[in-house]
């Protein structure tokens, strides 16, 4: 017997989610066909804002790639809109003319952006903010820079404004009402938000009514009712959305503002269901993601004929995805005679919190600046349990103060009910995570992400998910498996790196404040890591924190077991000259340096230098033209070479010359761990390039680029990245490897371990197969190097930097 046919119209978040939930309940019940008007797989639309702001890429926000549809035997019709539904014949007619029969039909047609019909609204340059094409259009416009006007100061408009501003546009926000986000925020929070956006260089015009968008054959500006004119190259219309119910209406279903549905998401036709932003349920339409997940669950239950939760409407909470601006609101927070409020402000931190109570129950919450307790208050609102009189005093301080004494965070998580939402981005509840951990035998955060999507989008709930893992697994939960950075945080290296960029954190204290560090100023593990991550994330902007550097990098020499230091000047490509050797000999004599040695990296090492002598030693070496060899740093160490075509009868290319060019390009670069290179002039490989972090082996036809070798605690031959024909390419590819490692590597993770973790094929895909990505990596590396190539020895020997580092305190006198 053939299976019944299910057709889903709309490959958005709701449509795909119904299928996910259905496959979970009844994997093989239907033959499924899915229509998607956008020519791309299903993606997380609420994460478009970070894509616009450059904080995520499209790949990051894909929910189900094409393999997922294939694996579940879904006949996916991408880029095919639906023209009509014949309910009598039970047929869906695609824009391609093909007819698809159905037994059950799901409408998930979503919503359309609302366009205010002012004159000029159809001019080229007027953009909405709804799908990836809109984002691409905005990003294209940003390339030539200029001015942008965003009409609409709600959630979507502000996220668009933030993204445009981050892309260098001069942004003006036009908002009809008194305060921004007036539906989600009260006035004080709206004020703080407006101030923050102004501080970021955006202009905010409230009480501003658009009269027309003017321009001859494209947008030139916006004219307000009061006569003001704001010039603009693009106008983003983000005033709201309305349910896209046209298809349902034409098919004769009951439609008001949206497609009418009951609690099982069934429309006026028993064989047709509808979910998402296109529906109207008990008089309400929804534009936020959390209630939509509930709708999908109800619809999937109906399709699977399973007993399950119905959709009974939902309280909604709001979070703004503008990095660095924390805004949260939930419930009803309007003033009222029989309502009481509890307010907390901390002007210095820019924090504002307000709770609204009615009949002793929490009914609304608004928070600005500190939203950590958002989920807790939201749950309290949904629970509708009375607030005890003695609890009132501390309620505003949130969960950690609930009940008086601070509670163990594990106990707080344990106390959450199963339906408490842990991951707001993907609508994942505590119950679902705990069940997945138990049933699928998950032991780490990656497993939970893969199975439930919890913490896979913005990552702020990672700590909660880890606590659930610990709670479920007890001692079996291996904290090291989570790879938190150190005991000061619950976050792993990847999360910290991502959040530094997403939240634009630009100092060690900012990271610790914003990411809830558990210690006041970190430890010897996390501080150097954070210092590196900040340096790598914000070249030219971040001011290095010397006190977060290990002594070797602070003193620019290697500490030895007796507290003296070793000094290694740079020898480009392992080359030296008689005058350099003479200068080194003179320094050894002058400062009575006890030991001089050749290193494995073709350098000369002077050991046993007293710390107080370091600046004078460097001054003499500088005078002979030598600079720091960074033999002490998590940085570019050495580029070893053989003599290549200069002298060798087997040499195929100028390996020495290439080695020197590589070293001149890369010196001074800070990296997650040390980086050693080598260039061999022929496959005999005298420079031992195939056990280096990055190695080049010259051959007749060009250059083999190798990476991820090791010759320390582990010995490992390199992986071949690719072959290139020219020296220019060799330099570009090596720099791209270096930059990718700088951006993805965990602190103290060598290149070979990084490659092992992320996969050699993934690295090849980003460097070899993606030319534009490689070029961008190369450019980012060169940009960062502009700020890295000042000789730290000269700065300290004669430039007066960090003088206190090298001299002891001189006691003034014995007190009288």
């Amino acid at each position: 017997m053939s299976k019944p046919k299910l057709v889903v119209i709309g490959n958005g978040m709701a449509g795909a989610r119904v299928l996910e939930d259905l496959f979970e309940l009844a994997p093989d019940m239907y033959d499924v066909t899915m229509f998607g008007a956008e020519p791309r797989p299903n993606y997380n639309r609420i994460m478009l804002s970070p894509v616009l702001a450059g904080e995520s890429t499209f790949d990051d926000i894909v929910i189900n790639d094409l393999d997922w549809y294939r694996d579940h035997d879904v006949d996916l019709k991408l880029g095919v809109a639906v023209d009509g539904i014949d309910r009598d014949a039970k047929i869906v007619r695609g824009a391609d003319g093909e007819e698809t029969p159905y037994d059950k039909l799901v409408l998930a047609t979503g919503s359309d952006p609302f366009i205010i019909p002012v004159p000029g609204h159809d001019l080229p340059g007027v953009i909405t903010f709804r799908d990836l094409d809109d984002v691409d259009q905005m990003l294209t416009a940003c390339k030539s820079g200029g001015r942008a006007v965003v009409i609409g100061g709600g959630l979507l408009g502000l996220e668009a404004a933030h993204g445009l501003s981050k892309n260098g546009m001069d942004v003006t926000i036009i908002h009809l009402m008194d305060t921004l986000m007036e539906r989600q925020l009260d006035q004080p929070a709206g004020y703080l938000l407006e101030k923050e956006l102004s501080n970021r260089g955006m202009q905010v015009l409230t009480k501003a009514n658009t009269e027309e968008i003017f321009g001859d054959d494209k947008v030139e500006g916006v004219r307000l009712k009061d006569g003001r004119e704001i010039p603009a190259e693009i106008v983003v219309m983000a005033v709201g959305i309305r349910p896209n119910s046209a298809l349902a209406k034409t098919a004769g279903l009951d439609v008001e503002r949206g497609v009418l549905v009951d609690d099982s998401m069934t429309t006026s036709d028993a064989d047709i269901l509808s979910v998402g932003e296109c529906i109207q349920h008990r008089g309400a339409c929804y534009g936020l993601v959390a209630p939509i997940w509930d709708m999908c669950r109800a619809a999937a239950g109906k399709l699977a004929d399973a007993e399950g939760p119905m959709f009974e409407g939902a309280e909604v909470s709001t979070k703004l995805k503008v990095s660095g601006v924390d805004v949260f609101s939930a419930g009803d927070f309007a003033d009222g005679e029989d309502r009481e409020e509890i307010v907390f402000r901390d002007a210095a931190r820019g924090v504002y919190k307000r709770l609204v109570l009615e009949d002793d129950k929490l009914i609304g919450a608004v928070m600005y600046g500190d939203t950590a307790d958002g989920a807790y208050f939201f749950q309290r609102i949904k629970d509708a349990e009375p607030v005890e009189p003695d609890e009132r005093e501390t309620l505003i301080f949130g969960q950690s103060f609930a009940g008086g004494a601070p509670v163990d965070p594990m106990a707080a998580v344990a106390a959450l009910p199963d339906e408490a939402e842990i991951c707001g981005c993907n609508g994942v509840s505590k119950g679902k995570i705990v069940t997945a951990i138990g049933e699928k035998g998950l032991t780490d955060i990656d497993g939970v992400r893969a199975c439930t999507k919890a913490s896979s989008s913005c990552g702020t709930c990672t700590g909660l998910v880890e606590q659930l893992l610990a709670l479920s697994l007890g001692d079996a939960f291996d904290a090291n498996a989570v790879k938190t950075m150190c005991g000061c945080t619950d976050l792993g290296h990847d999360e910290v790196r991502r959040l530094i960029l997403a939240k634009e954190l630009k100092s060690v204290p900012a990271v610790m404040q914003e990411l809830n560090w558990k210690t006041s100023c970190g430890c010897a593990k996390c501080r150097p890591a954070l210092n590196y991550y900040l340096l790598a994330s914000w070249p030219g902007e971040y001011v290095d924190d010397a006190q977060s550097r290990f002594i070797n990098e602070r003193a620019h020499a290697n500490i030895q077991k007796d507290g003296t230091f070793s000094v290694v000047p740079r020898a480009w490509g392992g080359m030296t000259t008689s005058s350099e050797l003479r200068a080194i000999a003179d320094v050894v004599d002058k400062f009575e340096i006890p030991t001089v040695k050749y290193t494995g990296g073709q350098r000369i090492d002077m050991l046993g230098v007293k710390k107080e002598d370091l600046p004078a030693v460097w001054a003499d070496l500088n005078a002979a033209g030598m600079v720091s060899g960074h033999a002490y740093g998590k940085s570019l160490r050495t580029v070893k070479t053989c003599v290549g075509t200069d002298w060798c009868r087997f040499g195929t290319q100028d390996s020495t010359g290439l080695g020197i060019k590589l070293e001149k390009m890369m010196w001074g670069s800070w990296t997650p761990h040390k980086v050693k290179l080598a260039v061999s002039g022929c496959p005999r490989n005298c420079a031992e390039a195939t056990c280096k972090d990055i190695g080049v082996v010259c051959v007749d036809s060009g250059y083999e680029i190798h990476f991820a070798g090791a010759a320390g605690m582990h010995v490992k031959a390199t992986e071949l990245l690719c072959n290139v024909a020219t020296e220019e390419e060799a330099l570009e590819y090596c720099a791209a490897v270096m930059q990718l490692y700088r951006e993805q590597g965990w602190y103290l993770e060598r290149i070979y371990k990084w490659a092992d973790r992320v996969g050699v094929d993934k690295i090849q895909a980003q460097i070899v197969e993606d030319d534009s990505n490689r070029l961008k990596l190369f450019e980012r590396f060169l940009f960062a190097q502009r700020f890295a190539q000042d000789d730290p020895w000269a700065e300290r020997a004669t430039g007066g930097v960090a003088a206190h580092e090298f001299a002891p305190l001189e006691p003034v006198a014995a007190a009288e």
């Binding site: 010897a524 150097p528 010397a546 002891p808 006691p811």
Partner: protein, 110 residues
């Protein structure tokens, strides 16, 4: 000078602002090598500049909360007590230090 202090015990070693925050300086007094440490909160501590483990110079370590991590083998020494934290056992001598309006005075008295 404050007459409450014995004159031969207190030595003025410099100003608090000569010591980097979350950092340290070395001072040599009467043949001793003493590390002077300043925490993020501006508190100043003085200890013998020798890790009880293998005599690593503590002034070269990373200062965090009220501790310092030795640069040689990562022992963490508590600046208040001079004791090694965690599983390690050992103790270095601490010295009394007095911050008078930014001027630092150190006592060699036991």
């Amino acid at each position: 000078m404050d007459g409450n202090f014995m004159s031969d015990q207190w030595v003025e070693i410099g100003r608090a602002d000569q010591i980097p925050t979350r950092g340290a300086r070395l001072v040599r007094i009467a043949g001793k090598q003493i590390g002077v440490f300043k925490t993020a909160g501006g508190e100043v501590f003085a200890l013998d500049n020798q890790c009880p483990h293998k005599k690593g110079p503590l002034t070269e370590g990373i200062v965090h909360d009220t501790g310092v991590t030795c640069p040689l083998h990562n022992w963490v020494i508590d600046l208040q007590s001079g004791k090694a934290r965690g599983a390690d056992e050992g103790c270095v001598r601490t010295y009394r230090i007095d911050n008078r309006d930014g001027r630092l005075f150190l006592s060699l008295a036991e």
